[in-house]
């Protein structure tokens, strides 16, 4: 078994027009910048993939990563919990001009919807959002005297994630708080593509240290010394 792919271009080659795409990371932490920019480069060169739906906690920051995808015009819809971050002009401009759709999901509900998809659970009940405008139109139920809102699983065609170590079976570890949504998204997409800072042979990761088991990962591509989104935003090296 060898899930490794040698180039970023090949790794994202199947991501198509209209794809629903989960992108790991929370802010810049755990964000697969190189995979994202490889997709943007293909869009700029060929016009594809366009009309992409992106699932992430945020809607990009500065003009790198998801913000650059939005700026380039390849994103049809964002599904996220917090699009209004300090430096989210790319999304704000498109949203206020009605050029991008938004599905706003509370952060814990977003995480659980993704987890549920990965776990084969089509719907679940949560107290989150009960009685608020984000519950409008959703079924509600009372359990033991408390009110709950029914939420559906959230699946994707592809997930692109960032790991620290990855082996040829697709086992992954993460760095610091870079774990966040990444392990959940690996489970919830038809095809998961992981960029890792170091690719090792099977056996190169202590099984006790594996965070995402390889069954949830389809392709692994090594990006040594990856860019860190927050650092790029702060220095604006990429436009």
């Amino acid at each position: 078994m060898d899930k490794s792919i040698s180039t970023l271009t090949e790794a994202v080659a199947d991501i198509h027009d209209g794809a629903v795409l989960m992108i790991g990371g929370f802010g810049g932490s755990g964000s697969p910048i190189e995979l994202i920019h490889t997709l943007i480069d293909r869009f700029r060169a060929t016009g594809s993939p366009k009309d992409v739906t992106v699932i992430n906690n945020n809607a990009g920051n500065g003009y790198v990563g998801i913000a650059a995808m939005i700026k380039a015009g390849m994103v049809k819809k964002m599904i996220c919990s917090f699009p209004r971050s300090s430096n989210a002009e790319a999304f704000n401009e498109k949203f206020l001009a009605d050029e991008i759709e938004l599905e706003l999901v509370p952060q814990g509900t977003l995480a659980e919807r993704i987890r549920a998809a990965g776990a084969g659970i089509p719907a679940f009940y949560t107290p989150t959002s009960y009685g608020t405008e984000l519950a409008i139109g959703k079924p509600t139920e009372e359990f033991d005297g408390k009110h709950y809102v029914q939420e559906r699983w959230l699946k994707a065609d592809f997930a692109i994630v960032k790991g620290q170590l990855g082996d040829k079976h697709g086992n992954l570890t993460y760095r610091l708080a870079g774990r966040n949504f990444n392990p959940l998204m690996c489970m919830a997409a038809d095809v998961t593509i992981a960029q890792v800072s170091e690719l090792v042979e099977a056996g190169g990761i202590d099984p006790e240290q594996v965070i995402t088991p390889g069954i949830f990962v389809d392709h692994v591509v090594e990006v040594k010394e990856p860019a860190q989104e927050e650092v790029l935003v702060r220095t604006e090296e990429v436009h």
Binding site: A177, N180, V231
Partner: protein, 224 residues
């Protein structure tokens, strides 16, 4: 009658006095983060942040940030001994599953039945909810810290919220710049108020009836 309202630091200090040693605590982004500075001597709370860290400490020195190590406000943090990392579904299991002892949040409005409005003030602009709607459900105590009135003097403690709700019947205690108020049985119960302020002065600045069920303490805080 003259009185001096508490500063934000003093409100945060007062809220910090009610956090027990060993408590697991989530502080909302912004003003509530200040509560961490005022942990009483001899007590150690463990701070939770939505993006998957328990046991974080202060911000690193400028230039020593590692941007893979951030809190939910996307600020760089440091770890304390005993810290742990976990993914987002585990993080919100800690929230919704009733494992946090207290969540302390900001507010636009708090209603006498415990309804909270703290995520948007109207239908304009870009909406963003983050973890606020999750945090108000599940923590054993959901407390709010806030100025008692808005910048233009309108009450923030009200009979019913007019801004979009974050959660229904979720707030249990409010620490304001003038008072400490509990929410019990659909009523505001006054626990402490500034000593220089009369009950009537405070009621005047509150948008719903203040009740008492015993002696009202003086809200006393240090100079900060």
């Amino acid at each position: 009658m003259s009185y001096t309202k508490l500063s934000n630091a003093q409100i945060a200090w007062r809220a910090a006095q009610d956090i027990d040693d060993g408590a697991y605590v989530n502080l909302g982004i912004g003003f509530p983060e200040m509560v961490a500075k005022f942990q009483p001597e001899g007590r150690e709370a463990v701070f939770h942040t939505e993006n998957g860290v328990l046991g974080f400490g202060q911000a690193p020195k400028e230039g020593e940030e590692d941007w893979d190590l951030i809190n939910a406000g996307k600020k760089a943090i440091t770890l304390k001994p005993g810290a742990s990392f976990f993914h987002h579904a585990d993080s919100f299991s800690m929230v919704r599953g009733g494992h946090l002892d207290v969540a302390i949040l900001g507010a636009y409005q708090i209603a006498q039945n415990g309804d909270l409005a703290n995520w948007r003030v109207g239908s304009k602009g870009v909406p963003a909810v983050g973890g606020a709607m999750d945090l108000v459900h599940g923590a054993k105590r959901v407390a709010v810290i806030t100025d008692h009135v808005t910048k233009d003097g309108k009450p923030k403690l009200v009979e019913a919220c007019t801004f979009p709700l974050t959660g229904v019947g979720c707030v249990t205690r409010v620490y304001t710049s003038l008072a400490v108020v509990d929410i019990e049985g659909g009523k505001f119960i006054l626990r402490e108020k500034l000593a220089d302020m009369t009950f009537d002065d405070l009621q005047e600045l509150t948008g719903a009836t203040l009740h008492t069920d015993g002696p009202v303490g003086d809200l006393t805080v240090p100079e900060l």
